[in-house]
Amino acid sequence: MKLTEALRIRQGAAGVPNSFKVALACGFTPLHLETFLAAHLQQALPGRRVEVATGLYGDLAGTLERFAEIEADAFAVALEWPDLDPRLGYRNLGGWGPSEEIDMVKHAQATLARMRAAIERAPASVPMAISLPTLPLPPAFHTPGWQASAAALDIQQSLACFAAETARRPIHRVLNAQYLTGRSAPGGALDLKTEILTGFPYTLAHADAVGEALARLIQPPPVKKGLITDLDDTLWNGLVGEEGPDGVNWDLSNHGGLHGLYQQLLGGLAAQGTLLAIASKNDPAVVDRALSRTDLLVRRDSVFPVEVGWHAKSESVGRILKTWNIAADSIVFVDDSPMELAEVKAAWPEIECRLFPKKDYDAAHALFQELRDLFGKSSVGAEDALRLASIRRAAELAQDAVVSGATPDEFLAQAGSVMLVEFNPPPEDTRVLELVNKTNQFNLNGQRHTESEWRRELETPGAFVMAVSYEDKFGPLGKIAVLKGVARNGDVDINAWVMSCRAFSRRIEHRCMEILFERFGAEQLRFAFAATPKNSPTAEMLERFLGARPQGEVSLSRARFAECVPALYHKVEYRNG
């Protein structure tokens, strides 16, 4: 992004009413870093007016300490070497050379300890993006440039410990230096002229890269939820229909190394909750034997569903999407055939389609990196491990119902379902807001919330959050529903309500309403409903109670609820009263 473009983006947002406040800590003149950070965040948050407040020049540690008292939606920290010790910069003449080295190490270590303490005291629910020093160390040490000095290594070791400790909390997001290096080469990062003359050390290109990266840490792009892969010459090397289940390979000796790496990557993604499925034109019996091989690097049971046959790939993809019950724009499809990719893309334009480059090692490396970026998460929680198992069980459950011929009521009555309800879960429970911000179909109004907004809204008198976990005899689904509202004077205003699509068809939403009526003695529930392109399941649920499709805020009386609610079979347990 050019500076001109960044300034125009900021000007263009001047009239947006809702602000998004970022506190930026940097020891240098923030100048264009502030502009680029704001512009990139503005692009990620088009409905908000990004405002960046900065601290005092030369006092990064002090600015960090003031974070504890600052009301902000996000914190950004751009650390550079002079923030650890002013002698590690170009605007201080405190001395370079052997006599200074030990003291520089000690001072840097003490400053890092002070910064760590300040970061720990910052509000726990506000995300903090931290960029470690991006510029080269100055020639302050006694060794020639090609030899690392012990003192410089000591400082870098202390910095690495500081970063590792900081990154343990997912709300503190440390910029990956490799990501930045790919966008701004270290040799082009320092602008000594502007550093000395104005106190701003970055070239424009580097300021853009650091600003973009910090913005990405504060407001990450949506994480893709599922990957659908082809088999032949993609998951494995060779055509299983011709070479047989034991003839395909993914090892180095058979030149299948890229396929092995791809399997390994998919195995890692599955372990962090990414849904995996197969869409392949093959004989199902042959594929089943190949997928039963014990040397596969992605576990057979971590892939579901497996769509194998001779129909169009787009049909397989459609069935997989239906089973997963997630939108096409959350999916990546990988195949070695450009024709298959084009066919799927034509039917499902929202899907990200990627070619598996079976002989192009550079392209394969880029693909692996991209898949990691598309599916990467700040943290992995218990629900991530449950996701695939619960989808598989839901499919089995539906199949059981068909086979047994049981009515929905008979089926639910025998399910042994238990809802664990928790009012006002602690702020450390990041799953609550994660669910609110990523759920599309059962979502009252589609509104996304920053951590600080969420926290502020809960300070309203009467405000509450209700989080629901669920399990039945088919297994646990984890935390699957969140409601937020305000209860006062016998009424309950619900302004956020989401439920995972994995929990549909269990009447959990009905039980949630019943719980609210009972807990607050409410005569009516008011829903801040707003239609979105994807939340028709929510509209349909409300329509069943109201007799008409909701167009905006709607109310449901206790009497009307009692008249319409179907039989509920869940056992309800409360975690905190």
Binding site: K2, L3, T4, T29, L31, T35, T194, F200, L204
Partner: protein, 81 residues
């Protein structure tokens, strides 16, 4: 008004907002809200980006008006007539 002047006016608007042509041609640090030393550096960087030229930073304190900037560019680069 020549093309170079229009481009320079665009640079000023990028930094200081949507001022009228007359206000821009008479713009100075005393007439434009927000034109401080930091804005001067931003303005110089925007002009450098737009005109692919480099300023002598020692001259920045003297570039206190639209006219002064235009004359500096004419004298040092020839890009602005």
């Amino acid at each position: 008004m020549d093309e170079q002047t229009q481009r320079l006016m665009t640079c000023f608007r990028t930094v200081f907002g949507d001022l009228s042509d007359a206000d821009l041609l008479n713009a100075s640090m005393s007439t434009v809200a927000g034109w401080d030393s930091v804005a001067s550096i931003t303005l110089v960087n925007v002009i450098e980006e737009e005109f692919q030229m480099q300023f002598d930073y020692d001259a920045i304190p003297d570039l206190t008006s639209f006219d002064a900037v235009a004359k500096y560019m004419q004298a040092n680069n020839g890009a602005h007539a």
